[in-house]
Symmetry: C2
Subunit: 227 residues, 2 copies
């Protein structure tokens, strides 16, 4: 479902050019559960942002579900994001002025889901991540792990075919992390393709395959370690 | 150095009153290395914000280095924060318009440290957390773990007697986390009192004592687990 070929992403800071992604080639099949790992600054979020159609590649190819992403219009990319991909951001990216329920309803609003159905789906998503009592709070009124779970609820509410999650358990205790991974596993069993960035080897054991990055390069592609 | 007695913190959301901290009593000695653990939403950051003089308690006592914190003026609290405490926020709280170097210089600026000395100390702090090549980048140009390390550098640059860190390794890979914990251990050996919130049992083994929270209550106070 995802094919990446010779992917390069360059950032310029002043005169300095940094190859945040350096000639990455890999493919992910429909329904796979893949983990991306690597040191801080190795290019994981940059990779996720390009796969999630949130950022443009500098050179190389990215084919998503048969469609070449390079050169697509902003409107087309937004359309793909709204229908094909559920995305959990490393920094959550919640709307500060909206409450948890409104934040989770957002992707459904973009798809034109009617208001009462939208509200019910959002409530169920928040309940599934343990936030039933928090739905009318704004992000600033919530703990770090609660905000992270709102971001997760927003990414799963639409049951998009691809779930991309950038360190979704970073702010969560072990018990809550396991509950989230159980939700992801259930989605995977229903056919969702999952791409998850994590630093934690325990989390990686829930996936089938680990792609390791270092200094913008893909350095290994192996079966996930077992428990 | 820190004494807390019957500490209560209540948040009101609409008509709902939440006891984010519920009758907490404990004391921390000068030079101790303490970990605070507990589930998401259990009150850890709320506790840190009160200890760090960033938030006011609803009722109870908080004595810091012999001084009763309740009722102190905003100016006095700011003064204490600038001289006594280095604080790593769970959400980093970096100035988005300033670069890494300027962010780390901030606490030294508040203390009136002259510009050239300030710059040198900030560079050394950033170098110690592995960010020598990132000092002129703004937060939005950095990875999650790099931003977290800028927040850490800012908290240690002034060598304040108390270091408070709210999940300082949440966005870091294992190797980088170990480097950070080695820095904290070195500071501890120089006499710094350290209070660290973490979800990760591996990080807790670096401390001497673990305070566990659940639903705003302090439920256990024990020696840290060994490796
Ligand atoms: N400004 C606020 N208004 C209302 N409720 C709040 C506010 N800040 C925090 N809370 C609530 O207080 C409780 C404790 O929050 P706190 O941030 O201390 O948790 P935590 O233990 O740090 O969690 P995490 O591990 O997720 O960071 C949570 O239920 C949270 O929703
Ligand atoms: N907008 C930008 N401008 C300049 N450099 C950037 C920008 N965004 C990211 N970078 C750099 O690209 C490199 C890769 O960043 P990326 O966010 O992909 O790392 P990461 O693997 O997700 O790290 P972490 O585990 O810390 O989140 C880093 O060195 C970072 O500083
Ligand atoms: Mg990242
Ligand atoms: Mg917290």
């Amino acid at each position: 479902i995802i094919e990446v070929e010779n992917l390069v992403k360059i950032y310029k800071t002043g005169d300095v050019e940094l190859r945040a992604l350096d000639d990455v080639t890999c493919s992910i099949n429909k329904g796979e559960f893949v983990c991306i790992m690597g040191p801080s600054g190795s290019g994981k979020s940059t990779m996720m942002n390009i796969l999630g159609c949130l950022d443009v590649l500098t050179s190389g190819k990215y084919i998503l579900d048969g469609l070449s992403i390079k050169g697509q219009s902003k409107a087309k990319l937004a359309d793909i994001r709204n229908h094909e991909i559920g995305f959990v951001f490393q920094g959550y990216n919640l709307l500060q002025k909206a409450d948890a329920l409104e934040n989770v309803e957002m992707p459904l609003m973009y798809r034109g889901v009617p208001s009462s159905k939208r509200k019910k789906m959002a409530e169920e998503a928040l309940e599934s991540v343990g936030l039933a009592s928090q739905i009318h709070k704004r992000p600033v009124q919530m703990s770090g792990g609660q905000q992270q779970r709102v971001a997760i609820a927003r990414a799963i509410v639409g049951k998009a075919p691809i779930l991309m999650a950038d360190e979704p358990t970073g702010a969560l205790d072990t018990k809550t992390s396991v509950e989230i991974m159980q939700i992801f596993t259930a989605l995977h069993n229903e056919g969702t393709t999952i791409i998850l960035v994590t630093h934690e080897p325990d989390i990686a054991t829930w996936s089938e395959r680990v792609l390791r990055f270092r200094d913008g390069k893909l350095v290994s592609d192996e079966a996930a370690p077992k428990d």
